[in-house]
Each structure stands twice: as structure tokens, then as C-alpha cells.
């Protein structure tokens, strides 16, 4: 470990790093491969699959509510119920409403409070003349170590150009090439880490925020969508045939249970960063507690690649109060270099994220990291970037500069101290190309779903996924919701689930979903106790 002053003083050598064996690097230093990090699921349709222990505890838990809790409760009706108010959920809701469905969009926090707004780097789509859908497809599969579902990846990359056109039609802005007129200009394309072509489209370094801005407005202005904010879902409802037919919601304001019945349900509840797997800080928002995974799994939806999480290489290591906050990959895509405490480059900065993250963890483990006030990490050379591209920090990397301001230093003079941060759930609920899960009536889109990214996600594919599959799931849900209103809606699936827990020798008193992280100021257990007493 090298003291901060020494690390700053060390001359930074821009010579390319020595190549290293990627597989050995991942096996040795990626947190997914840490000894004891995984256990095997013991109950449910994906029993036998490896899964991080903290997530397995939640997946193999008992429900928060039971039948008596839903008796005599107000029932809201919709044709399509969308769970989650991030990008995927809002786009699914918008698509379903435009297809003529009555849509109820419910969200744990507020609309847009999610990870979509934190997507900084951009969105991938093969729109360049020298690029192709085939290259995008191959890049995605290769980065995911060939574990992604080929049909899903093909669907996503095929939707790429149309998704960008759709976003522009919604009013979203994109960066244009230098010197181009605003009208008729060409989209600025950057080369994302792990890709073979310049394919990353962006809006400054807050692409996701810009996306969410226009989608949120569209949702609010679309008749046929009712939005319920601060209504976390605590259980899914089924009809007697096991079809998903709605959800049990907890209205945080009045602390009451509300039921929503629907012909089809789209689950877009995002990821699990707030589980802080392996003790890592996270870039994720406050609500990323794997609720959707827990509920869908309990109902019989299969999971895939849940053992695989993405640790973003460039999370803030210092100052501690911002630990885990994301620094966009745009900084590296624009040419920002990483140095260890000795002033050496140690990895190709544009290698896939899992490789870069593992390399940083190797530097830390092997004592070549820099340390500032006890926080260890490596240097993201923003001064070097500014020197090579004058003005880039102020114009293109706005969020990064803002972050430095909050941390109390000038990024043009001082580098960031960074280390990997728990960023993305690569796997999730298994879906088909229309967003269908194994449970009839239940659809899934966005980070909660699995199969698009294999064991590692390319930057820019998360935004593309949520647009492509938000639209696919929304449209498919409308189709599924046509027909009779679901009848006999209840919690019939819970008894079988409990019997499964008993048979596997698992405790019955562990309750999930988590809804809020344990260090928050919401005591869900107390809230539910109060509800039972009422």
C-alpha cells in the first residue's frame, strides 16, 4: 500500500500495461469467485443453482403477509400492473397504455428513483456505418463469457437502432459529432469497453437521467396510466391456476395494505446492490434490494446466472461518505487512464468491466494500491485526461466534475481514488424474447431479468435492454391481459412454498422481500406489526 502523497508524486507512465491472463485474473480476484461467496439454492424451481449467500437467504424466505392480511382490503383494478418506476417499468407502462390497456404503475420510492438515472456512460446500438448487429451480438456474448441467451441477445441488438429512434421521438437528446448542426447531425459514437466498434451513444455523462426525464414526462402525460408512488410490493397475487393476477402493496403513507388485481403483471423491480454482497459498497439506489427476484421465485419463476454480479471498476474509494458512488465509464471511454500507487498502468482500461475490476482488486490485494486516509484504491487520472482533451471535464464529464466538487477537490488537478463498487445484477429472472417468465401472466424486464448479459455486462447494454425489453414486455403483457378478469385472486401459492421450506429444513421465520436496507430509517417489521394489531 502506497501513501497518497507518494502515489501523487510518482511519475505516471502511460506505457501500455503488460498483458495478463484474464481467466486467472477473474478466478483469483473477482468477488464472484471469492471462496465461500456462493451457496446452492435448496428450494424452488432453480434449486441447485449457485447464488450469493445473502441473496439465497432472501430467496428462501417466508412471505411477509398471509391470507388474513388481504381480507377486507381495497382492491385496485388494472389490465396491466407494472411493478417498478425505473426505466424498464415506465417504458413497459407507456407501451402498454399506448396499446390501449389500463395500466397501474406502482413504485417503491418515486418514479425515476432507480438505477436508470445513474446510467452515465450511454446506450449501445449498432448505428455506425462500419458497425453491425452481428458485431454487437458477438461483443455482448463474448463479454458475457458466452453464458447469455442467444435469442435474447439477438432480440436486443436487433431492437437497438429502433430503440434509439424511439427515444429520439420521445424527445431524448443525444450528443452529436463535433461541428455538426443540431438538426441533421450525426450521433456521436464512442467505443465502449469490451466492444469492437464505436457504438456507445450518450447524452453528456448523464444519459440515463436524460432518458428518464423524457420517459417520466411521457408517463405522466399519457392517459390510461395511474401512478402509485411509495407503494412497495410485498407479495404477488395468483389465481387458483397459479397465474399471476396482481400484487399486494404496502401504502407507506397510511401504512396500509392495498391490493392490485390485473390481467398481467410486469415486474421491473431492478437489482440487488443494497445487499452489499461480499461487503462491497454499491453504486445502486436505496431501493435495490432484490424484491422482485424474491417474489417471482416464490411464485415459480426460474432464475439464471444469479451467481454473477458486476462490480463496476470505478466507484469512489475516497472520501468515505461517497464510497461506492459511480464514476462513469465515459471517463475511461474518453481516454482516462488508471494507475496504481507506483504510477504504473496495470490493465487495459477498456477491457470488460469484470476484468478491470478484478485487476484493481489485484493491485489492492498485492499492495500496489494507493491509500488516502485509510481508503485504498487506484488512481483515475483526470488531470491527464483534461491535459489531453482541454475542456472535456467541464463539457462532457459534467457529473464527474460535480462529484469531485462534492468530494472537495478539483479533478483537473487531482486524480480520483477509485475501487470497484457493486453495480449490476448480471443474471435474474429467466425470460423469453417477449419478456415472459415461467409463470403465466408474469412478465419481467430490465435489471430484474436475466439472460441478456451472461456473466458480465457490457457498458451501454443496460439502457438498451431496458428500452428493448420494456417495450417487448409491455406489448406482450397487453396481449396476455386480454380476456376475462382474473377471479379467485389470493395467496394460494404460499402454502406450497412454505411446505417446500419445511421439506428443505429451512427456517420459516425469515421474511422477505427486504423492501428497505436494514440500515435505513424505515422499520418494515414494526410497520407490519402495527398493521396486524390494527
Amino acid at each position: 500500500m502506497i501513501a497518497w502523497d507518494q502515489a501523487l508524486a510518482a511519475p505516471r507512465d502511460p506505457a501500455p500495461p503488460l498483458p495478463s491472463d484474464r481467466d486467472a485474473l477473474l478466478r483469483g480476484f473477482h468477488p464472484d469467485h471469492a471462496p465461500g461467496a456462493m451457496e446452492r439454492l435448496r428450494v424452488g424451481v432453480s434449486a441447485g443453482q449457485p447464488c450469493p449467500a445473502a441473496l439465497a437467504d432472501l430467496l428462501q424466505s417466508n412471505a411477509l403477509v398471509e391470507d388474513v392480511d388481504i381480507a377486507g382490503r381495497a382492491m385496485r383494478e388494472a389490465e396491466v400492473l407494472v411493478l417498478g418506476g425505473g426505466g424498464a417499468g415506465c417504458i413497459a407502462a407507456l407501451t402498454a397504455a399506448r396499446d390501449g390497456a389500463r395500466v397501474l404503475l406502482v413504485t417503491k420510492l418515486r418514479m425515476g428513483d432507480g438505477n436508470t438515472v445513474m446510467a452515465e456512460g450511454g446506450i449501445q446500438a449498432a448505428v455506425g456505418a462500419e458497425d453491425s448487429l452481428q458485431r454487437h451480438y458477438e461483443d455482448t456474448l463474448r463479454a458475457g463469457h458466452f453464458r447469455a441467451d442467444k435469442a435474447l441477445v439477438a432480440a436486443m441488438v436487433r431492437d437497438g437502432p429502433a430503440s434509439i429512434r424511439w427515444l429520439i421521438q420521445q424527445g431524448m437528446g443525444f450528443d452529436l459529432e463535433e461541428g455538426e448542426d443540431r438538426i441533421g447531425g450525426h450521433l456521436l459514437r464512442k467505443k465502449p469497453g469490451g466492444a469492437t466498434a464505436a457504438r456507445l451513444l450518450s447524452f453528456r455523462d448523464y444519459t440515463g437521467l436524460e432518458l428518464m426525464r423524457v420517459i417520466r414526462e411521457a408517463v405522466l402525460l399519457t392517459p390510461g396510466i395511474t401512478v402509485l408512488e411509495r407503494h412497495p410490493v410485498v407479495e404477488l397475487l395468483t389465481d387458483p391456476h397459479g397465474r399471476c393476477a396482481g400484487a399486494v402493496l404496502l401504502e407507506l403513507g397510511r401504512r396500509e395494505i392495498v391490493l392490485a388485481r390485473a390481467g398481467a403483471v410486469v415486474l421491473a423491480t431492478g437489482g440487488a446492490g443494497r445487499l452489499h454482497l461480499n461487503g462491497f459498497p454499491t453504486s445502486n439506489h436505496y431501493g435495490a434490494t432484490a424484491d422482485g427476484l424474491v417474489l417471482a421465485y416464490r411464485l415459480g419463476a426460474g432464475l439464471r446466472e444469479v451467481e454473477s454480479f458486476q462490480y463496476h471498476p470505478t466507484g469512489i474509494a475516497w472520501p468515505p461518505h461517497l464510497a461506492g458512488t459511480l464514476i462513469s465509464e465515459a471517463a475511461r471511454a474518453a481516454g482516462g487512464l488508471l494507475f496504481n500507487g507506483l504510477g504504473q498502468r496495470f490493465v487495459d482500461e477498456l477491457a470488460p468491466r469484470d476484468v478491470v475490476a478484478a485487476a484493481i482488486l489485484r493491485e489492492i490485494a498485492e499492495g500496489r494500491a494507493a491509500a488516502r486516509e485509510g481508503c485504498e484504491g487506484v488512481l483515475l487520472d483526470t488531470p491527464g485526461l483534461e491535459a489531453a482533451n482541454p475542456g472535456i471535464l467541464a463539457k462532457r464529464l459534467v457529473t464527474l466534475s460535480h462529484l469531485a466538487h462534492r468530494a472537495g477537490f478539483d479533478p483537473a488537478r487531482e486524480p480520483f481514488l477509485i475501487r470497484p463498487t457493486l453495480h449490476y445484477q448480471n443474471g435474474g429472472i429467466a425470460i423469453d424474447a417477449e419478456g415472459r417468465t415461467a409463470v403465466p401472466g408474469l412478465f419481467c424486464a430490465g435489471e430484474a431479468s436475466g439472460g441478456l448479459h451472461g456473466l458480465n455486462r457490457l457498458m451501454g447494454n443496460a439502457l438498451l435492454e431496458l428500452v428493448a425489453f420494456g417495450r417487448r414486455a409491455g406489448a406482450a403483457a397487453v396481449e396476455a391481459a386480454r380476456g376475462d378478469r382474473p377471479r379467485g385472486v389470493g395467496l394460494t401459492h404460499l402454502a406450497a412454498w412454505e411446505r417446500g421450506l419445511v421439506a428443505a429444513g429451512l427456517p420459516l421465520d425469515r421474511r422477505a422481500p427486504m423492501v428497505f436496507p436494514p440500515y435505513g430509517n424505515v422499520d418494515l417489521a414494526a410497520m407490519l406489526r402495527q398493521r396486524v394489531a390494527a
Partner: protein
């Protein structure tokens, strides 16, 4: 305790079945006149739910004059929580047919209809296959000889609806008509299929008959506990650890069924009540845990054994929601002939749904109480009575759950 559920009785091959079973039918053929007395001595009751002494029904058909007599083996079974007949028909078709042929010999009926719910296509196909094997077997020729004319064994698919299991509705359906119940009398025993004397009997009752003829009335009586005779298939479901079909001595206590055979309450929840099949009877509660589950003991407690379906409700499950679910089933199952049933079950279901959805008021509760008092006895079959009974019972036993749901 395995009489009906003996693994040796399972399978589709008739030769395999007759190698180890079929002794009851052979005994019946040796002495047809002894069948009904043996059934009487055995204490066999109608196991479809009514518990009517089997020998009286059989004797009535045997004594009724007229040609073209019928047996209807009733396997319509559609009520929530009951799944015994589908087991017998799917797993032990020859056991059921043997019993039906014993009855055919006893009442001299040449037309035997296996009247089954078409819900499971594989079961229906299996039964047709089983019937065809019997048609080619010399044992059926012996049955024909005993009856006095050629016995025809046929599979008749029911409408699959609950009401089709009522005996007069079954007769109508076998005749090719709409499965509507009709007023009684006349009873099917005198005036059944095409006006001929007809024995309509649940398949579980028939299945028992073969074993009784084989092993004797005393053996059968001895299987039961106390005064009760034989065994019963209990369809156990709800908040228990191990739901499923349990064949137990008639007269087994509810406590033993739930806590020994059912593995106890799911998740260690408190016991609240049991809806008995199906589910149209007075609720059993904690004070009934030690009551013997047989027709007479439960009737003495103001409830009924019914089909032997026991839907267990624990703390954590709402009686109001369960009652609403079952009344909604009855409302959807009403054939609509009798206005009080058609309108009454619909209104009760609507009021319960309002309460259950949190939009009901005290007036709705009052209306439910009135309907519970008004409706019984107003239909030509028992459907409306069942709906009213389960409503009245849940209102009387769990008033707090209804109060809590009021706006």
C-alpha cells in the same frame, strides 16, 4: 390402512388386476341373493356425501319393477377440496368397475354407466380402455348370465360441473339431456334413466362393495372405529404440512387426521376451523378436534362428514375469504332453475365479495344474515342449502372476521 388404496389394485391391465383381485365379484356371482344382505350387515353407507345406508338404496332398486335397469357409477366430483373419486378412477379403474358389476348383479341391471368428470382426458381414456377389456372378458359374460341379459359397460362423460353430480341431474345427463336436477319424488330407484329403476351411487361406495363381498361384513365393520364401519378416503387440504388423500378408518378423529396423518398445522400456526366437503357444511372448530369423523358423530355435532373433504384453516387464513370463495363456487354452479337459489347464491356471493374487497358496510352484513336464514330449503336440490349453511356457520363462528372487514 389400505383397502381402496392398496397398490395391488392399481393399473390398467385387467388380467393383472384379476390375478390378485376380483374375488368380490366372483363371490357375488356365486350367490347373487346374498349381496344385499351382506351389504346391509356391513353397514356400508353412501360415501358420496349423503351417508344414506347403501343397502336400502340397492334394495329399493332391486325391488322396483321394470325392465331396462341402470347403474350409474357417479364419478362427477367437482367440489372444492374433494379429490378422492379422481384418484379411484384414474388409478384403480378396475376396482370401480368390479364394484359396479357387483351392484349390477345385485339389482339385475344390464346397463352400467361410468359417469365421470371429463376434466382429465387421460383418466377418461383409461376408463374406456378398462371397460373394453371387461367387455372381452369371460367374467363379464358370467355377470350377464347372472343378470339375465347382456351387460353393457359404458363411459359417459359428465358436463364436469358440480350440479351434474346430483343424482337426478346424473340421470338426466346419462339420458343425453341437460344435467339439471329435478324434483323428488320420484326417486331414480323407481323412475331413473328412461323411466327404468336406476341405482346412482358414488364410485367410492361401489369400490368398497367388492371388498365387502370378498372378505365379509364383519371384516368391514371391524375396520371402523366404534360403531362406524369400514374405511373412508379423506381429501385433506389447506393449512397442513402434508395435504393429500388419506384412507383411514371411519370414525378417526379430526385431530388424528390433521396432526398425525397431515403432519400438523403448516408453519406451526394455530388451528382455526375445518370446512368439510364439500364445502357446504357447518364448520368444525377446535372443540370438534376429538370428534369421530363418521356420518352419525358429525351429524350429532350439527355438521356433516360430506365427501370426506377436510379443508383445514389455520391462523393466517381468512374465514371470510374462504367463505366468499366457496359461495362464489356455489353461485357459479347453480343451474338456475330455482329462483331462490339462482338469485340467492348470486347475492350472497356479491355481498361477500364486497366485504372481502373492503367496500362492504353494516347493511351488507345484515343482508347476509337475512339471506342465511331465508335461503335454506328453497331449491329442489341441496345446492342452495349448502351455500346457506357454510355462510350461516362462518357468520356464527367467526363474527369478528366479518366485523373487521367492514368499512
Amino acid at each position: 390402512m389400505m383397502v381402496l388404496t392398496d397398490p395391488a389394485l392399481r393399473g390398467l391391465a385387467l388380467d393383472g388386476y384379476l390375478a390378485s383381485a376380483g374375488h368380490g365379484l366372483r363371490a357375488a356371482l356365486r350367490d347373487p341373493g346374498a349381496i344385499i344382505p351382506v351389504i346391509e350387515a356391513s353397514g356400508l353407507r353412501g360415501l358420496g356425501g349423503a351417508g344414506f345406508p347403501a343397502h336400502r338404496k340397492w334394495a329399493a332398486v332391486a325391488a322396483a319393477p321394470g325392465p331396462g335397469r341402470w347403474i350409474i357409477a357417479n364419478g362427477n366430483e367437482d367440489e372444492p377440496g374433494t379429490f378422492k373419486d379422481r384418484f379411484l378412477l384414474a388409478e384403480t379403474p378396475h376396482q370401480v368397475i368390479e364394484g359396479a358389476l357387483v351392484a349390477a348383479v345385485a339389482v339385475r341391471a344390464a346397463q352400467v354407466a361410468l359417469y365421470v368428470n371429463p376434466r382429465d382426458a387421460a383418466t377418461v381414456a383409461g376408463l374406456r380402455d378398462a371397460a373394453a377389456q371387461w367387455a372381452a372378458h369371460p367374467l363379464l359374460a358370467a355377470v350377464s348370465a347372472a343378470v339375465g341379459e347382456a351387460v353393457t359397460l359404458r363411459v359417459v362423460e359428465s358436463s364436469g360441473l358440480y350440479i351434474g353430480g346430483e343424482e337426478t341431474a346424473a340421470v338426466a345427463a346419462v339420458q343425453g339431456g341437460f344435467p339439471f336436477p329435478s324434483l323428488k319424488p320420484p326417486f331414480p330407484a323407481q323412475h331413473g334413466v328412461h323411466g327404468a329403476p336406476t341405482l346412482v351411487t358414488n364410485v367410492e361406495t361401489l369400490a368398497q362393495a367388492g371388498h365387502i363381498l370378498e372378505k365379509g361384513a364383519d371384516w368391514y365393520r371391524g375396520l371402523g372405529i366404534g360403531d362406524a364401519a369400514g374405511t373412508k378416503l379423506f381429501s385433506l387440504s389447506g393449512d397442513v404440512l402434508r395435504p393429500g388423500l388419506h384412507e383411514l378408518p371411519m370414525g378417526t378423529s379430526l385431530r388424528s387426521l390433521v396432526f398425525d396423518h397431515g403432519g400438523g398445522m403448516l408453519g406451526g400456526r394455530g388451528f382455526k376451523a375445518v370446512f368439510t366437503g364439500g364445502p357446504s357444511n357447518t364448520l368444525l372448530t377446535e372443540r370438534d378436534l376429538d370428534v369421530a369423523m363418521d356420518f352419525d358423530s358429525l351429524r350429532a355435532r350439527g355438521s356433516r362428514l360430506g365427501t370426506g373433504a377436510m379443508i383445514v384453516v389455520g391462523e393466517g387464513t381468512s374465514i371470510l375469504r374462504k367463505t366468499a370463495e366457496y359461495v362464489a363456487f356455489f353461485a357459479a354452479s347453480s343451474c338456475g332453475q330455482c329462483p331462490p337459489c339462482k338469485v340467492g347464491t348470486f347475492q350472497v356471493a356479491r355481498l361477500l365479495e364486497r366485504l372481502e374487497a373492503g367496500s362492504g358496510g353494516p347493511g351488507d352484513l345484515e343482508a347476509l344474515r337475512n339471506l342465511a336464514a331465508l335461503l335454506p330449503g328453497s331449491g329442489r336440490c341441496g345446492l342452495v342449502d349448502g351455500a346457506a349453511t357454510v355462510l350461516a356457520s362462518s357468520l356464527a363462528t367467526f363474527p369478528a372476521e366479518y366485523q373487521r372487514a367492514l368499512r
